[in-house]
Symmetry: C2
Subunit: 194 residues, 2 copies
């Protein structure tokens, strides 16, 4: 049987990672999130921390900034290198087994090569602010500022590497508001549509 | 018990209307689609045909065109009048009973006053083209041209009256790709999340 992959794109603080883990547990398949970062770290030599940030977020608020920053004479940046390694690892995983992959543009990377259920998880600013304080604790910046910054950079990263808009309903098979529906209902819905 | 409303926004040709009807039948509640148009016709004196088109589509491809077309000396247009009547009828329905309402910006109209499950149904151009030929038959224009025209005008109408973007995942609690998931799975998902 061909592998079937669930890709979960998510807004920061929407609980998409938790949903991915629970879906995978219910289906008895692997969930690649932190494990994916470790794999990329191993192959690339970059640190996990660097990958966590740079493999999903544009380094500045503006993608223009990213497009021209830190490129060598061939026009290639560290970010591009990381993108290529991420892409190869995600392709390998999808070849190897049915699994859940959280973030890292997996929906786009696998669009022509794997049988995917593509999911986007979002929630209101209020619900996400509540959640990130609970999960990650307080910081100097207000939760709303942290969220806006993360949203902007994730969106820019996605758009730059995929030339597709992040968070547009038409680009996913299922989009769910975890803030209103709740984590558990989101998990059930994805499992039943798998 | 407070009424619970399901609003279904949909791309033309995605089967959203069929999904709405089947969801309502399964839940044993009313589905307002054609019935809503009749009610608006009765109250407004406009014909059903006029309402079908003008109560959901911008008259031209550009909302700028619409914004300034056919306005009287108070800056009020027939379209605005129709909007007001639609809005009042949708509010009355939501007060009266739990139901499914298809289209007509019901998600936006009820956002502060009713307990809603807001749904957006979409599908690829190919799947929708296939569907509209099957459901509505051939016409002089290619199915793709008909779809693009409808999409553009529906989007413009929604944006003009709601100042919110149509088809952006964050504006709905559930978005589903009926072309990939199939009508039946969409119905089941909505029913189970109700």
């Amino acid at each position: 049987m061909k592998n079937r992959i669930i890709t979960i794109s998510r807004e920061f603080g929407s609980g998409g990672r938790t949903i991915g883990k629970e879906v995978a547990a219910k289906l008895g398949i692997a969930c690649y999130d932190q494990e994916l970062i470790e794999k990329i770290a191993e192959k690339s030599g970059f640190s996990s921390e660097y990958i966590k940030e740079q493999g999903e977020y544009a380094p500045t608020a503006s993608w223009i900034g990213m497009a021209f920053a830190g490129r060598d004479s061939t026009g290639h940046s560290y970010q591009d290198e990381l993108w290529n390694i991420q892409r190869d690892i995600i392709q390998e995983l999808a070849q190897k087994e049915s699994c859940v992959i959280v973030g890292r543009c997996a929906d786009y990377i696998l669009r022509d090569t794997a049988d995917c259920l593509t999911v986007f998880i979002h929630a209101s600013m209020e619900k996400r602010a509540e959640r990130i304080v609970k999960v990650y604790g307080e910081s100097d910046l207000s939760p709303e500022k942290r969220l806006r910054n993360k949203d902007r950079r994730r969106k820019a990263y996605y758009q730059f590497y995929t030339d597709t808009e992040w968070g547009v309903a038409q680009n996913y098979q299922i989009c769910l508001d975890s803030g209103i529906l709740g984590i558990e209902k989101c998990v059930e819905t994805i499992v039943s549509l798998y």
